[in-house]
Amino acid sequence: MNTEWYVVLSSLLFAVGAMGILVRRSPIVILLCLEIMLNAGNLALVAFSRMVGNQQGQVFAIVVMVVAACEVVVGLGLIVAIFRRKLPLDVDELRELRG
């Protein structure tokens, strides 16, 4: 399969992830959709790395994975903290940051 297929698949996954963020209300699921988007980016990176012929895209993909891991750690920490304070785990309920 040529690179186009992979990149189109990556953009499809990205769109699905974006839609998921917009639709779901549970913060855990939103984080999961965020993972989908990050992975879509990774797929594109690796595909292009194969297209170009060097491995720099793959290294970049690994760094992206590291970043995703960190972000998940902090995000889940937040969720646990929210849960500990007996607040509802619903992004529509948690909306005090507004004008």
């Binding site: 698949l9 953009s11 855990i28 989908i36 690796v46 297209m51 993909a61 969720i79 903290a81």
Partner: protein
């Protein structure tokens, strides 16, 4: 052969993604994501990125998803209420998702980058090996490598501070590796921390 594998993996990835979005119970969503990640690993293998595929399975599906599982277990998988307080959101979201996909596809398919239509150049057998990736990481991208280590450390500290018990920050003696392990230990402080489990893959 490659095409069959590709479509199978693509279907798996897509199915997993749609599952995450569509399934009501977060537990099921997490499991769907694991399926998605494994499919992606297959796709990486198809792109001769062996190390990345391995890392994907070990780190992502292995460590990160386990973290998700634990947190979802702790927090509880309540299903979401049905109504939507934001007017128009449920209607606009699929529309925008579709718009995004269409635009990106047009960008890719209509691109004048001719290399897109190829399979890529012939690569030797060591392409995508840990040795090759390691060489790049430690020689050319050393700064990025070190920076990501610091990022991991910061994330660990942040998580500990966020989720720690009131009054006891829960920071024990600092160690370089296994920061996710520490966070995981702090999160589930009711359960005695287990022995070093295979979660040290983050310190690449």
């Amino acid at each position: 052969m490659e095409a069959v594998l590709f479509f199978a993996a693509a279907l798996g990835a897509l199915g997993g993604a749609i599952g995450v979005v569509a399934l009501r119970n977060p537990f099921y969503g997490v499991l769907a994501l694991i399926v998605h990640l494994f499919s992606l690993a297959v796709l990486f293998l198809l792109l001769t990125a062996a190390f990345v595929a391995a890392a994907q399975v070990v780190v992502y599906a292995g460590a990160v998803m386990v973290l998700y599982v634990f947190v979802t277990a702790y927090v509880g998988g309540e299903t979401e209420p049905v109504g939507d307080p934001i007017p128009g959101q449920k209607f606009l979201a699929p529309l925008l998702g579709a718009a995004l996909f269409i635009e990106l596809s047009i960008a890719v398919l209509g691109s004048s980058l001719l290399a897109l239509t190829t399979h890529g150049p012939k690569v030797g057998p060591g392409f995508g090996n840990p040795e090759a990736i390691g060489k790049l990481l430690l020689e050319r991208f050393l700064l990025a490598f070190e920076a990501s280590s610091i990022l991991l450390l910061m994330a660990a500290v942040g998580a500990v501070v966020l989720a720690g018990r009131q009054g006891t920050p829960g920071v024990s003696e600092g160690a370089v590796g296994g920061s996710s392990e520490r966070a995981f230990g702090a999160v589930c402080s009711e359960h005695p921390p287990t022995a070093p489990s295979p979660v040290g893959g983050a310190s690449a």
